[in-house]
Symmetry: C2
Subunit: 212 residues, 2 copies
């Protein structure tokens, strides 16, 4: 299995770096992807949303056929939805992929590539209304959603929860547990400032807060 992680100008760093680390821990354990690649439109440095500069392993032109495509989000998605080369890359690779994962506002790129039609999907809480306005997708306010081979997550850090659930689905709970243990992904669960109870908080978070 070859996993490709898309980057573009203005991609949010944690959107891809969290899943990247977990997918590679899975690779190192064995049974996961044999190769994980950072894929950019060009083989040139990409400046992320917060200024981190990363070097893609392959350009779109040189990218092998992927089995797994991960599409992160970030401010840059607002421009990239209108980049026909990037959208066509997602569309053509997705045609062959076993699974397509998006994080945060990466779901807008999947939508533009025609991958969310008739699907249940989610995005960052601040973009839920904007996604719902696209109409041909059923927006759910969950931490992550799995509809067929399409997985979408809530904002930024939710990509890690999505990736672990994806690994559990592919390789079983024991393997997902090894990845989780390796990454020591057992968050404290502290919620600061009670912002999680705001009206604009997504439904899954309100449930979490109500239950705690």
């Amino acid at each position: 299995m070859i996993a490709g992680v898309l980057v573009f100008p203005g991609v949010e760093e944690l959107d891809f770096a969290g899943p990247w680390d977990l997918l590679n821990l899975w690779r190192r354990i064995g049974g996961g992807p044999e190769r994980c690649l950072i894929v950019g439109e060009f083989a040139a440095p990409v400046e992320c949303a917060n200024g981190l500069s990363v070097n893609p392993h392959v350009s779109f032109a040189d990218c092998p056929r992927l089995d797994l495509l991960l599409v992160p989000g970030g401010q840059g998605t607002r421009r990239e939805v209108d980049n026909p080369v990037l959208i066509e890359f997602i569309r053509s690779q997705a045609a062959n992929c076993r699974s397509i994962l998006s994080i945060c506002t990466g779901s807008f790129l999947l939508h533009r590539a025609g991958l969310l039609a008739g699907k249940r999907a989610t995005t960052h809480w601040n973009s839920l209304g904007r996604l719902a306005a696209l109409r041909d997708v059923t927006v759910v306010q969950e931490r992550f959603v799995h509809d067929g081979r399409i997985w979408t997550s809530a904002g930024i850090s939710a990509g890690m929860d999505l990736t672990l659930a994806f690994i559990a689905d592919c390789a079983g709970e024991e393997t997902a547990g090894k990845v989780q243990f390796g990454a020591e992904y057992y968050p404290s669960g502290i919620r600061y400032g009670a912002l999680d109870t705001r009206p604009e908080a997504p439904a899954y978070l309100k449930r979490l807060s109500a239950g705690s």
Copy 2:
């Protein structure tokens, strides 16, 4: 405030990318660092532990005086503890820093720079014994530890919990809440495969598991 995030060959991606995102969200909200810099020994691409290639903003030679220094971990720390240039960079910058944060096995770099003598500190669960063997540091099995201006965290993903606690300490719970809400850092809390109850699991995790 200028924040510097150290990178070196074999640095674990999520160790720095999680805190990087949260520090920059704080910067964007206001009241946090005015500048966040990725700092490498040389102004050349750095290959991380899982193969991500990043470009430092500044080399050690060109790095301004930092107010906050974040030292991530990863396999590369086993070599970098013997890199006198890197250790001297940490030591000399730390002399002026308000706060020094380490993630995962970054604590071994702080130790070598003389910053953990007589302090309480932690690291990735798999390196707790190795850190304790250094003797002049008191190893605690917490998700993160704060001792004076030195903050250290458990493995990989724990850097995000540390960074939010650090922001709350500096700027208050409301600001930390805004950063947490922005990053949508409300993890699902799912624990896969019951690995969290293994004998080698750190004490904080056994407590978490016993309580759930």
